[in-house]
Protein backbone atom coordinates (compact mmCIF):
# COMPACT_ATOMS: atom_id res chain seq x y z
CA UNK A 1 0.00 0.00 0.00
CA UNK A 2 1.04 3.60 -0.48
CA UNK A 3 2.40 5.41 2.57
CA UNK A 4 1.89 9.07 3.30
CA UNK A 5 5.33 9.87 4.67
CA UNK A 6 5.12 13.61 5.26
CA UNK A 7 3.71 17.02 4.57
CA UNK A 8 5.49 20.18 3.55
CA UNK A 9 4.29 23.75 3.50
CA UNK A 10 6.05 26.25 1.32
CA UNK A 11 5.55 29.70 -0.07
CA UNK A 12 5.50 29.82 -3.86
CA UNK A 13 6.54 33.43 -4.39
CA UNK A 14 7.66 34.03 -8.01
CA UNK A 15 10.73 35.97 -6.82
CA UNK A 16 11.88 32.73 -5.15
CA UNK A 17 11.88 31.03 -8.54
CA UNK A 18 13.98 33.84 -9.99
CA UNK A 19 16.38 33.79 -7.01
CA UNK A 20 16.72 30.00 -7.29
CA UNK A 21 17.52 30.24 -10.99
CA UNK A 22 20.14 32.89 -10.17
CA UNK A 23 21.38 30.75 -7.24
CA UNK A 24 21.24 33.59 -4.72
CA UNK A 25 21.41 31.10 -1.82
CA UNK A 26 24.11 33.05 0.05
CA UNK A 27 22.92 36.53 -0.85
CA UNK A 28 22.22 38.40 2.43
CA UNK A 29 18.59 39.11 1.49
CA UNK A 30 17.91 35.50 0.53
CA UNK A 31 20.08 33.45 2.89
CA UNK A 32 17.64 33.39 5.86
CA UNK A 33 14.98 32.12 3.47
CA UNK A 34 16.99 29.48 1.59
CA UNK A 35 18.69 28.19 4.76
CA UNK A 36 15.20 27.25 5.94
CA UNK A 37 14.98 24.69 3.11
CA UNK A 38 18.20 22.82 3.89
CA UNK A 39 16.56 20.39 6.38
CA UNK A 40 13.72 19.80 3.88
CA UNK A 41 16.21 18.94 1.15
CA UNK A 42 18.08 16.60 3.51
CA UNK A 43 14.86 14.88 4.52
CA UNK A 44 13.87 14.47 0.86
CA UNK A 45 17.28 12.97 0.12
CA UNK A 46 16.84 10.48 2.96
CA UNK A 47 13.18 9.56 2.38
CA UNK A 48 13.22 9.68 -1.43
CA UNK A 49 9.46 9.99 -2.01
CA UNK A 50 7.99 8.68 -5.25
CA UNK A 51 5.10 11.08 -5.59
CA UNK A 52 4.18 14.57 -4.43
CA UNK A 53 0.53 15.56 -4.19
CA UNK A 54 0.82 19.31 -4.59
CA UNK A 55 -2.02 21.46 -3.32
CA UNK A 56 -1.62 24.86 -4.94
CA UNK A 57 -3.50 27.67 -6.61
CA UNK A 58 -3.25 28.73 -10.23
CA UNK A 59 -2.74 32.46 -10.87
CA UNK A 60 -3.96 32.64 -14.47
CA UNK A 61 -1.88 30.18 -16.45
CA UNK A 62 -4.20 27.20 -16.83
CA UNK A 63 -7.43 28.62 -15.48
CA UNK A 64 -9.18 31.84 -16.41
CA UNK A 65 -12.38 33.48 -15.27
CA UNK A 66 -14.36 31.92 -18.13
CA UNK A 67 -14.38 28.62 -16.21
CA UNK A 68 -13.32 28.63 -12.59
CA UNK A 69 -12.99 25.29 -10.83
CA UNK A 70 -13.15 25.39 -7.06
CA UNK A 71 -11.19 22.13 -6.87
CA UNK A 72 -9.36 20.68 -9.90
CA UNK A 73 -7.01 17.72 -10.17
CA UNK A 74 -4.56 16.78 -12.87
CA UNK A 75 -4.78 13.30 -14.36
CA UNK A 76 -2.06 13.49 -16.98
CA UNK A 77 1.27 11.85 -17.74
CA UNK A 78 2.93 15.23 -17.55
CA UNK A 79 2.19 18.89 -16.92
CA UNK A 80 3.81 21.75 -18.80
CA UNK A 81 4.98 24.97 -17.25
CA UNK A 82 4.71 28.05 -19.50
CA UNK A 83 5.10 31.81 -19.83
CA UNK A 84 3.02 33.61 -17.20
CA UNK A 85 3.72 37.02 -18.63
CA UNK A 86 6.38 38.46 -16.37
CA UNK A 87 9.71 36.86 -16.96
CA UNK A 88 9.89 33.64 -14.95
CA UNK A 89 12.04 31.02 -16.65
CA UNK A 90 9.91 28.20 -18.03
CA UNK A 91 10.79 25.03 -16.16
CA UNK A 92 10.85 21.45 -17.50
CA UNK A 93 7.54 19.54 -17.66
CA UNK A 94 6.46 17.90 -14.41
CA UNK A 95 5.85 14.14 -14.66
CA UNK A 96 2.45 12.90 -13.49
CA UNK A 97 0.94 9.65 -12.21
CA UNK A 98 -2.46 9.30 -13.92
CA UNK A 99 -3.32 6.00 -12.21
CA UNK A 100 -2.92 7.58 -8.79
CA UNK A 101 -4.83 10.65 -9.96
CA UNK A 102 -7.81 8.53 -10.97
CA UNK A 103 -7.67 6.57 -7.74
CA UNK A 104 -7.85 9.86 -5.82
CA UNK A 105 -10.65 11.17 -8.06
CA UNK A 106 -12.74 8.06 -7.43
CA UNK A 107 -12.05 8.00 -3.69
CA UNK A 108 -12.92 11.69 -3.34
CA UNK A 109 -16.12 11.19 -5.30
CA UNK A 110 -17.19 8.54 -2.75
CA UNK A 111 -16.58 11.17 -0.07
CA UNK A 112 -18.77 13.63 -2.01
CA UNK A 113 -15.94 15.78 -3.32
CA UNK A 114 -16.49 16.10 -7.07
CA UNK A 115 -13.39 17.58 -8.67
CA UNK A 116 -12.76 19.04 -12.10
CA UNK A 117 -10.70 16.36 -13.87
CA UNK A 118 -7.92 17.60 -16.15
CA UNK A 119 -6.04 15.49 -18.69
CA UNK A 120 -4.22 18.58 -19.84
CA UNK A 121 -3.20 21.14 -17.31
CA UNK A 122 -0.46 23.74 -17.31
CA UNK A 123 1.14 24.28 -13.92
CA UNK A 124 2.29 27.74 -12.88
CA UNK A 125 4.70 29.07 -10.26
CA UNK A 126 2.28 28.00 -7.53
CA UNK A 127 3.30 24.40 -8.19
CA UNK A 128 6.73 24.77 -9.76
CA UNK A 129 8.50 27.18 -7.38
CA UNK A 130 8.34 24.80 -4.36
CA UNK A 131 9.82 22.02 -6.54
CA UNK A 132 12.57 24.40 -7.68
CA UNK A 133 13.53 25.48 -4.18
CA UNK A 134 13.58 21.92 -2.84
CA UNK A 135 15.45 20.50 -5.86
CA UNK A 136 17.47 23.47 -7.17
CA UNK A 137 20.00 21.23 -8.93
CA UNK A 138 17.57 18.87 -10.64
CA UNK A 139 17.78 18.70 -14.41
CA UNK A 140 14.59 16.72 -14.38
CA UNK A 141 12.18 16.47 -11.46
CA UNK A 142 13.00 13.48 -9.22
CA UNK A 143 9.34 12.84 -8.29
CA UNK A 144 6.01 12.40 -9.99
CA UNK A 145 3.45 15.04 -9.10
CA UNK A 146 -0.32 15.02 -8.83
CA UNK A 147 -1.48 18.65 -8.96
CA UNK A 148 -4.55 19.68 -7.02
CA UNK A 149 -5.53 23.28 -7.80
CA UNK A 150 -7.80 25.19 -5.43
CA UNK A 151 -9.39 28.43 -6.56
CA UNK A 152 -8.23 31.52 -4.67
CA UNK A 153 -8.69 33.96 -7.56
CA UNK A 154 -12.47 34.27 -7.85
CA UNK A 155 -14.46 34.76 -4.67
CA UNK A 156 -16.24 33.00 -3.10
CA UNK A 157 -13.31 30.66 -2.51
CA UNK A 158 -13.76 27.42 -0.55
CA UNK A 159 -13.67 27.72 3.24
CA UNK A 160 -10.76 26.59 5.41
CA UNK A 161 -12.95 23.85 6.86
CA UNK A 162 -13.97 22.59 3.43
CA UNK A 163 -10.34 22.50 2.32
CA UNK A 164 -9.26 20.68 5.48
CA UNK A 165 -11.99 18.08 4.91
CA UNK A 166 -10.86 17.70 1.30
CA UNK A 167 -7.37 17.08 2.64
CA UNK A 168 -8.67 14.39 5.02
CA UNK A 169 -10.19 12.59 2.02
CA UNK A 170 -7.00 12.99 -0.01
CA UNK A 171 -5.03 11.45 2.86
CA UNK A 172 -7.42 8.50 3.08
CA UNK A 173 -7.24 8.04 -0.68
CA UNK A 174 -3.43 7.94 -0.62
CA UNK A 175 -3.37 5.39 2.19
CA UNK A 176 -5.83 3.15 0.34
CA UNK A 177 -3.82 3.07 -2.92
CA UNK A 178 -2.64 -0.44 -3.68
CA UNK A 179 0.83 0.43 -4.85
CA UNK A 180 4.06 0.50 -2.88
CA UNK A 181 4.69 4.25 -3.07
CA UNK A 182 6.00 6.88 -0.72
CA UNK A 183 3.87 9.99 -0.99
CA UNK A 184 4.46 13.52 0.30
CA UNK A 185 1.76 16.19 0.33
CA UNK A 186 2.68 19.83 -0.32
CA UNK A 187 0.56 22.80 0.69
CA UNK A 188 1.92 25.79 -1.19
CA UNK A 189 1.21 29.52 -1.01
CA UNK A 190 0.97 32.29 1.53
CA UNK A 191 1.73 33.31 4.09
CA UNK A 192 0.37 36.79 4.80
CA UNK A 193 0.52 39.13 1.85
CA UNK A 194 -1.57 41.61 -0.05
CA UNK A 195 -0.72 42.54 -3.62
CA UNK A 196 -3.62 44.91 -4.30
CA UNK A 197 -5.14 48.18 -3.19
CA UNK A 198 -3.99 50.95 -0.88
CA UNK A 199 -3.25 48.18 1.64
CA UNK A 200 -0.71 46.52 -0.72
CA UNK A 201 2.39 45.33 1.10
CA UNK A 202 0.50 44.28 4.22
CA UNK A 203 2.31 41.50 6.13
CA UNK A 204 1.17 40.15 9.51
CA UNK A 205 4.08 38.37 11.15
CA UNK A 206 2.14 37.74 14.35
CA UNK A 207 -0.65 36.00 12.43
CA UNK A 208 1.82 33.93 10.39
CA UNK A 209 3.74 32.65 13.42
CA UNK A 210 0.52 31.89 15.26
CA UNK A 211 -0.73 29.99 12.19
CA UNK A 212 2.48 27.93 12.03
CA UNK A 213 2.09 27.11 15.72
CA UNK A 214 -1.57 26.13 15.55
CA UNK A 215 -1.38 24.06 12.38
CA UNK A 216 0.61 21.43 14.29
CA UNK A 217 -2.01 20.39 16.85
CA UNK A 218 -4.69 23.07 17.15
CA UNK A 219 -5.75 23.00 13.53
CA UNK A 220 -9.45 23.30 14.47
CA UNK A 221 -8.79 26.88 15.53
CA UNK A 222 -7.58 27.55 11.99
CA UNK A 223 -10.37 25.72 10.18
CA UNK A 224 -12.79 27.96 12.10
CA UNK A 225 -11.40 31.01 10.27
CA UNK A 226 -13.62 32.49 7.57
CA UNK A 227 -12.41 33.82 4.22
CA UNK A 228 -13.00 37.33 5.57
CA UNK A 229 -10.84 36.52 8.64
CA UNK A 230 -8.01 35.53 6.29
CA UNK A 231 -8.37 38.69 4.17
CA UNK A 232 -8.44 40.89 7.27
CA UNK A 233 -5.60 39.19 9.16
CA UNK A 234 -3.39 37.75 6.41
CA UNK A 235 -4.13 40.12 3.53
CA UNK A 236 -6.24 39.54 0.45
CA UNK A 237 -3.80 37.03 -1.06
CA UNK A 238 -3.04 35.45 2.35
CA UNK A 239 -6.19 33.40 1.79
CA UNK A 240 -3.81 31.00 -0.02
CA UNK A 241 -3.19 29.51 3.43
CA UNK A 242 -6.22 27.27 2.79
CA UNK A 243 -3.71 25.18 0.79
CA UNK A 244 -1.74 24.57 3.96
CA UNK A 245 -4.87 23.40 5.75
CA UNK A 246 -5.70 21.01 2.91
CA UNK A 247 -2.24 19.46 3.30
CA UNK A 248 -2.69 19.34 7.08
CA UNK A 249 -5.99 17.50 6.70
CA UNK A 250 -4.27 14.80 4.64
CA UNK A 251 -1.75 14.04 7.39
CA UNK A 252 -4.36 12.86 9.92
CA UNK A 253 -5.09 13.99 13.48
CA UNK A 254 -1.60 13.95 14.92
CA UNK A 255 1.66 15.10 13.42
CA UNK A 256 5.22 15.57 14.55
CA UNK A 257 6.98 18.80 13.60
CA UNK A 258 10.37 17.97 12.10
CA UNK A 259 11.32 21.45 10.96
CA UNK A 260 9.98 24.94 10.48
CA UNK A 261 11.35 28.30 9.40
CA UNK A 262 9.76 31.70 8.96
CA UNK A 263 11.25 34.71 7.27
CA UNK A 264 9.68 38.02 6.28
CA UNK A 265 9.68 39.75 3.98
CA UNK A 266 10.46 37.82 0.85
CA UNK A 267 9.24 40.07 -1.92
CA UNK A 268 5.87 41.24 -0.52
CA UNK A 269 5.23 38.15 1.58
CA UNK A 270 5.77 36.36 4.85
CA UNK A 271 7.50 33.10 3.87
CA UNK A 272 7.04 29.95 5.91
CA UNK A 273 8.31 26.41 5.41
CA UNK A 274 7.30 23.46 7.57
CA UNK A 275 8.07 19.75 7.48
CA UNK A 276 5.53 17.56 9.26
CA UNK A 277 5.37 13.82 9.72
CA UNK A 278 2.13 11.94 10.39
CA UNK A 279 1.92 10.10 13.71
CA UNK A 280 -0.05 6.83 13.65
Amino acid sequence: MATLVGGITSSHIPAVGIATTKRLFDDPYWKPFFDGYVPVREWMEKVKPDVVISIYNDHGLNFFLDQVSTFAIGAAHHYDNADEGWGLKTMPPVPGDPELSWHIIEALNKDEFDLTMCQEMKVDHGLVVPLQVIWPDAEEWPVKVVPVAINTVQHPVPSAKRCYDLGVSIGNAIRSYDEDLKVVVFGTGGMSHQLQGERAGFINKRFDLDFMDKIIDRQQELTALTTTDFIREAGSEGVELIMWLTMRGALGDKVKLLHSNYHAPISNTGAGVMLLEPVE
Binding site: H59, G60, L61, F64, L65, A82, D83, E84, G85, W86, G87, V153, Q154, H155, P156, Q194, L195, Q196, G197, E198, R199, A200, G201, F202, I203, N204, K205, R206, L209, T226, T227, T228, I231, R232, S236, E237, H263, A264, P265, S267, N268, G270
Partner: protein
Protein backbone atom coordinates in the same frame (compact mmCIF):
# COMPACT_ATOMS: atom_id res chain seq x y z
CA UNK B 1 -29.54 43.98 -10.69
CA UNK B 2 -28.46 44.28 -7.08
CA UNK B 3 -25.41 43.18 -5.15
CA UNK B 4 -25.56 42.22 -1.48
CA UNK B 5 -23.37 43.85 1.15
CA UNK B 6 -20.38 41.76 2.20
CA UNK B 7 -18.63 41.42 5.55
CA UNK B 8 -15.32 42.29 3.88
CA UNK B 9 -16.53 45.61 2.47
CA UNK B 10 -15.13 47.51 5.47
CA UNK B 11 -11.54 46.21 5.11
CA UNK B 12 -9.62 49.32 4.08
CA UNK B 13 -7.71 49.52 0.80
CA UNK B 14 -8.87 46.06 -0.29
CA UNK B 15 -10.79 45.08 -3.44
CA UNK B 16 -12.06 41.53 -2.96
CA UNK B 17 -12.53 39.96 -6.38
CA UNK B 18 -16.09 38.71 -6.05
CA UNK B 19 -18.88 38.31 -8.56
CA UNK B 20 -19.61 42.02 -8.67
CA UNK B 21 -16.01 42.83 -9.62
CA UNK B 22 -15.77 39.87 -11.99
CA UNK B 23 -18.76 41.15 -13.99
CA UNK B 24 -17.40 44.69 -14.08
CA UNK B 25 -13.86 43.66 -14.95
CA UNK B 26 -14.52 40.89 -17.48
CA UNK B 27 -13.18 42.66 -20.63
CA UNK B 28 -10.19 44.13 -18.79
CA UNK B 29 -9.21 40.81 -17.24
CA UNK B 30 -9.77 39.01 -20.53
CA UNK B 31 -7.35 41.41 -22.22
CA UNK B 32 -4.78 40.92 -19.44
CA UNK B 33 -5.02 37.12 -19.71
CA UNK B 34 -3.84 37.27 -23.35
CA UNK B 35 -0.57 38.78 -22.13
CA UNK B 36 0.81 35.35 -21.22
CA UNK B 37 1.96 35.45 -24.84
CA UNK B 38 4.96 37.61 -25.79
CA UNK B 39 3.52 38.47 -29.22
CA UNK B 40 0.45 39.89 -27.50
CA UNK B 41 2.57 41.85 -25.02
CA UNK B 42 4.39 43.37 -27.96
CA UNK B 43 1.11 44.18 -29.75
CA UNK B 44 -0.17 45.91 -26.61
CA UNK B 45 3.01 47.96 -26.24
CA UNK B 46 2.80 49.01 -29.90
CA UNK B 47 -0.81 50.21 -29.72
CA UNK B 48 -2.50 50.18 -26.32
CA UNK B 49 -5.82 51.63 -27.43
CA UNK B 50 -6.08 49.45 -30.50
CA UNK B 51 -5.28 46.36 -28.46
CA UNK B 52 -7.82 47.20 -25.74
CA UNK B 53 -10.52 47.86 -28.37
CA UNK B 54 -10.47 44.20 -29.38
CA UNK B 55 -11.86 43.30 -25.95
CA UNK B 56 -14.75 45.75 -25.69
CA UNK B 57 -13.14 47.47 -22.76
CA UNK B 58 -14.76 50.68 -21.52
CA UNK B 59 -13.02 53.99 -22.16
CA UNK B 60 -12.27 54.23 -18.44
CA UNK B 61 -10.67 50.78 -18.43
CA UNK B 62 -8.62 51.61 -21.51
CA UNK B 63 -7.44 54.85 -19.92
CA UNK B 64 -6.48 53.01 -16.70
CA UNK B 65 -4.43 50.54 -18.76
CA UNK B 66 -2.82 53.33 -20.76
CA UNK B 67 -1.90 55.17 -17.55
CA UNK B 68 -0.87 51.89 -15.83
CA UNK B 69 -3.06 53.15 -12.97
CA UNK B 70 -3.49 50.10 -10.77
CA UNK B 71 -6.05 51.57 -8.35
CA UNK B 72 -8.21 52.69 -11.25
CA UNK B 73 -8.02 49.20 -12.73
CA UNK B 74 -9.00 47.63 -9.40
CA UNK B 75 -11.95 49.99 -9.09
CA UNK B 76 -13.03 48.99 -12.61
CA UNK B 77 -12.98 45.29 -11.80
CA UNK B 78 -9.39 44.38 -12.53
CA UNK B 79 -8.00 41.31 -10.78
CA UNK B 80 -4.48 41.70 -9.44
CA UNK B 81 -3.28 38.31 -10.73
CA UNK B 82 -4.22 39.22 -14.31
CA UNK B 83 -3.09 42.81 -13.87
CA UNK B 84 0.32 41.37 -12.92
CA UNK B 85 0.70 40.22 -16.54
CA UNK B 86 0.06 43.76 -17.78
CA UNK B 87 2.48 45.16 -15.22
CA UNK B 88 5.07 42.58 -16.31
CA UNK B 89 4.60 43.57 -19.95
CA UNK B 90 6.09 46.93 -19.00
CA UNK B 91 8.93 45.38 -16.99
CA UNK B 92 7.46 46.51 -13.69
CA UNK B 93 6.95 44.25 -10.69
CA UNK B 94 4.55 43.97 -7.76
CA UNK B 95 6.71 46.22 -5.59
CA UNK B 96 6.67 49.00 -8.19
CA UNK B 97 2.92 48.75 -8.42
CA UNK B 98 2.45 48.28 -4.66
CA UNK B 99 4.31 51.54 -4.08
CA UNK B 100 2.14 53.23 -6.72
CA UNK B 101 -1.06 52.04 -5.02
CA UNK B 102 0.20 53.17 -1.60
CA UNK B 103 1.30 56.52 -3.03
CA UNK B 104 4.89 56.10 -1.81
CA UNK B 105 8.25 55.48 -3.46
CA UNK B 106 9.48 51.95 -4.19
CA UNK B 107 12.24 52.46 -1.58
CA UNK B 108 9.66 53.47 1.01
CA UNK B 109 7.55 50.45 0.08
CA UNK B 110 10.51 48.09 0.52
CA UNK B 111 11.37 49.70 3.87
CA UNK B 112 7.79 49.19 5.01
CA UNK B 113 8.03 45.48 4.12
CA UNK B 114 11.33 45.15 6.01
CA UNK B 115 9.89 46.86 9.09
CA UNK B 116 6.97 44.44 9.19
CA UNK B 117 9.41 41.53 9.00
CA UNK B 118 11.47 42.95 11.86
CA UNK B 119 8.48 43.43 14.14
CA UNK B 120 8.99 41.71 17.49
CA UNK B 121 6.06 39.44 18.24
Amino acid sequence: MSWSKKDYDDIPGTYVFDGRRAVMGWPLNKMCMTLNDEDNREALRQDVEGYCKKFDMSDEQTKAVKDLDALAMLRLGGNIYYMAKLIGAYNLNMQDIGAQMRGITVEEFKDMLLRQGQEVV
